[in-house]
């Protein structure tokens, strides 16, 4: 009996250990660490496919360095720190990756960076870790991201509103990391710009009535309500009840509020004073080039975070080429290929980039999700615009800086 069980356990161990045969030596590996299982399991495959598309294009157009193949090694962070560190350790030590795209979730990024990649000096670029905490990591300049921090939208919205003569506002936000992050960043920047926050309160999701919350917020005397919530959920209820009861006359929403639901439910004619901010994939040749290529490979270009995933992968490929395959030089090379100066490179233009790098010409990658010029913390500014309701949809009023 005992030997049988030991045999089962030993067999499993041996099978898993034996199966890990070493891969071919000529491959250059980049880790793709994502939340394959766990809460974002529905989003992760498309993000990984987008990153693989970048590697596929590289390989079709001559490969990296002396014609080596670029291989994406997929790891599962399960969207938690335990899985993130485990996957990163395997990628760095067993697979020997030169850089990592991911992990997908902020908690996994923080843990994997703190315990694995920063000590090992491996560059990571996360396409979807939006936590402001990533900005402040003591990372020896090895942690980057191609998605803007949550802080950014709130601050940009505050500056834009102040510039449009909104001086006194009340803020209602949903009590989760999204709403809290946006609202706090907005409040800090709005007050720094000299605006007045006349009411500031969190609300719980899914209640039938928010009239008492709204009455409390309206007491401050502001005529504008800023809502950080979801337009097809609680945000809609708040907007409706504020309109019905006349608590406020003007309304502003974050990107969650830019949804078709309020227009359908409340009617465009009632929303003439409603504006919402939202990230815009810069309407560029880069985005078109990516969309076309991703569609051709069977992906959906409108899936969330696919553009940032592609950019992260392509940028790392450029950086590896520039650094000559040297792990330690990838971070510096990453800055060099995306600092806004040099010959512009669009998604998919690997051959051109490779020739330019070989000739020693400076290049600048223009990504599908934006220009991807990193600041000193390895963050990118987002591209946001302010929208108003027009007809059955939204129309851009102004870019947000």
């Amino acid at each position: 009996m005992k030997s049988k069980v030991l045999a089962i356990a030993g067999g499993l161990l041996a099978a898993t250990a034996l199966a890990s045969a070493p891969a071919k030596a000529a491959d250059v590996k980049i880790g793709l660490i994502g939340g394959v299982s766990g809460p974002i399991a529905a989003m992760a495959p498309a993000m990984i496919d987008a990153a693989q598309l970048a590697f596929q294009q590289v390989n079709e157009q001559g490969g990296v360095l002396g014609g080596d193949k670029l291989v994406g090694v997929v790891g599962d962070s399960a969207c938690n720190p335990q899985g993130g560190t485990d996957a990163a350790t395997k990628a760095v030590n067993i697979e020997g990756v030169v850089a990592i795209v991911g992990p997908h979730c902020s908690g996994a990024v923080l843990a994997a960076a703190g315990s694995v990649t920063i000590p090992a000096g491996i560059t990571v670029v996360t396409p979807s870790g939006t936590s402001p905490e990533i900005t402040g990591l003591a990372d020896n300049d090895t942690v980057f991201r191609t998605v803007p921090s949550d802080d950014y939208q709130g601050r940009a919205l505050a500056r834009t509103l102040k510039g449009m003569d909104y001086n006194k506002v009340a803020v209602a936000y949903i009590n989760n990391d999204y709403g809290t992050g946006l609202a706090n960043a907005f409040k800090a920047e709005f007050e720094a710009q000299g605006g007045e926050i006349a009411g500031f309160s969190a609300h719980e999701d899914g209640k039938a009535s928010y009239r008492s919350d709204l009455a409390e917020l309206a007491k401050g005397g502001a005529d504008t309500l800023v809502i950080f919530d979801y337009g097809d959920g609680t945000g809609l209820t708040i907007l409706r009840q504020a309109l019905e009861n006349g608590f406020f006359s003007k309304f502003v929403g974050g990107d969650g509020m830019k949804s078709d639901a309020p227009i359908k439910e409340l009617g465009a004619e009632n929303l003439s004073t409603f504006v919402a901010s939202s990230p815009v994939g810069e309407q560029s040749k880069s985005l078109d080039a990516f969309n076309e290529a991703f569609k051709a490979s069977g992906g959906d270009p409108n899936a969330i975070f696919v553009t940032t995933s592609y950019d992260a992968a392509f940028l790392l490929a450029l950086a590896v080429e520039k650094a000559g395959g040297d792990k330690a030089g990838v971070a510096a090379a990453l800055r060099a290929v995306s600092n806004g100066e040099g010959e512009p490179i669009l998604p998919g233009e690997w051959k051109k980039a490779k020739e330019l790098i070989a000739a020693g010409t400076a290049i600048d990658y223009k990504g599908a999700a934006g220009d991807q010029n990193f600041d000193e913390n390895g963050d990118v500014p987002g591209t946001y615009a302010l929208f108003k309701v027009s007809g059955d949809g939204f129309e851009t009023i102004t870019e947000m800086k």
Binding site: L12, S20, S37, S115
Partner: protein, 320 residues
């Protein structure tokens, strides 16, 4: 795959096994000794991790902290915090019998997770706490992992020796008596409620310590770590597979389960690309299958609980 890489990966696995072994030891006190079905391990894990993070991390705006105490103070603090949280919870919940206690403790873990996720002043809410110091964290990658593994191993050894001593002491015999026949133990004049609470608190303190070791290793702690899958159920599987009621079984279970959990991904990565992503889910399946097999063919675990009397004296002399 270079040799140094493999060695480094083994070091990492050793650290994680050590941390999980602490959690499994804590659970062994609760379930193995006292028969308390605690399904809220993640909650005490989180309390310990955050307590130590707050005590040792540098100042950050908008949340409690900035004490910058040495790491060992944080670790002791994490045990105290987890024990303090466990006390009122135990007072209320331990009146429930087995499965009801399990449901209540899942609820408690969820409450702890939500509090941590929303209390910005205490835990920086969803953003988590970063820049937690790691002992010997300034050394190069490999050396730093070696040093941390040594610390974890030392902590685990001390915890093991102390728990083992308790197990063989009259206290351990009494706990097993309460577990196996509550009425008889009550008739012998044992204060069942008080003793159960004791076991619950001791176990929770060890879980808190495991959480603290985890947070310092990652230099960060976020609410995402309080995931019932990896912080509660994985620990249960470790204890059941290793052998509940046996401390060495708890440690062995942690080693076997974590090794399979982690190494199986390397195996599935060898599959062709289109299957490699899907194969990640096999890990969850493997763990479930393993639990089924163990429960069907060897419910007492790899190392069963030592029988009273006959083996105990040999055990004690060979260990101490």
């Amino acid at each position: 795959m270079e040799l140094i890489g493999l060695a480094n990966y083994a070091l990492f696995m050793g650290i994680f096994i050590g941390i999980y072994a602490l959690l499994a030891l804590g659970l062994n006190i609760q379930w193995g000794f006292a028969g308390l079905f605690n399904a809220g391990i993640a909650g005490f894990f989180a309390v310990g991790a955050y307590a130590s993070a707050i005590l040792t991390s540098p100042h950050a705006d908008g949340r409690l902290g900035g004490f910058e105490l040495p790491f060992y103070v944080g670790w002791i603090g994490s045990m105290i915090a987890a024990a303090l949280i466990a006390w009122p919870i135990g007072k209320i919940c331990l009146r429930f019998r087995s499965d009801y206690l399990a449901i209540a403790s899942i609820g408690v873990a969820e409450i702890i997770r939500l509090v941590i996720k929303s209390e910005a002043e205490l835990t920086n809410s969803a953003r988590g706490i970063t820049n937690i110091p790691r002992p010997f964290g300034d050394l190069p990658y490999v050396e730093s992992q070696m040093a941390y593994l040594a610390i974890v191993a030392l902590v685990l050894l001390v915890a093991y020796l102390m728990v083992e001593r308790q197990f063989n002491a009259p206290w351990g015999r009494m706990m097993r008596a309460i577990r196996d026949n509550e009425l008889a133990a009550r008739a012998m004049g044992k204060n069942i409620e008080y003793r159960r609470l004791e076991a619950f608190i001791f176990g929770a303190a060890l879980m808190g310590l495991g959480g603290a070791l985890f947070a310092h290793f990652n230099r960060s702690i976020t609410p995402e770590a309080i995931d019932p899958m990896v912080a509660t159920f994985l620990v249960w599987i470790m204890l059941i597979l290793g052998g509940s009621g046996n401390n060495r079984g708890a440690i062995l279970g942690a080693a076997v389960v974590w090794t399979i959990w982690s190494v199986s991904e390397i195996a599935t990565d060898q599959l062709p690309q289109e299957y490699a992503v899907k194969a990640k889910y096999i890990r969850l399946f493997l763990i479930g299958l393993m639990l089924q097999l163990v429960l069907r063919f060897r419910p007492e675990g790899l190392l069963p609980e030592p029988l009273r009397g006959d083996q105990r004296s040999d055990d004690a002399s060979s260990k101490s």
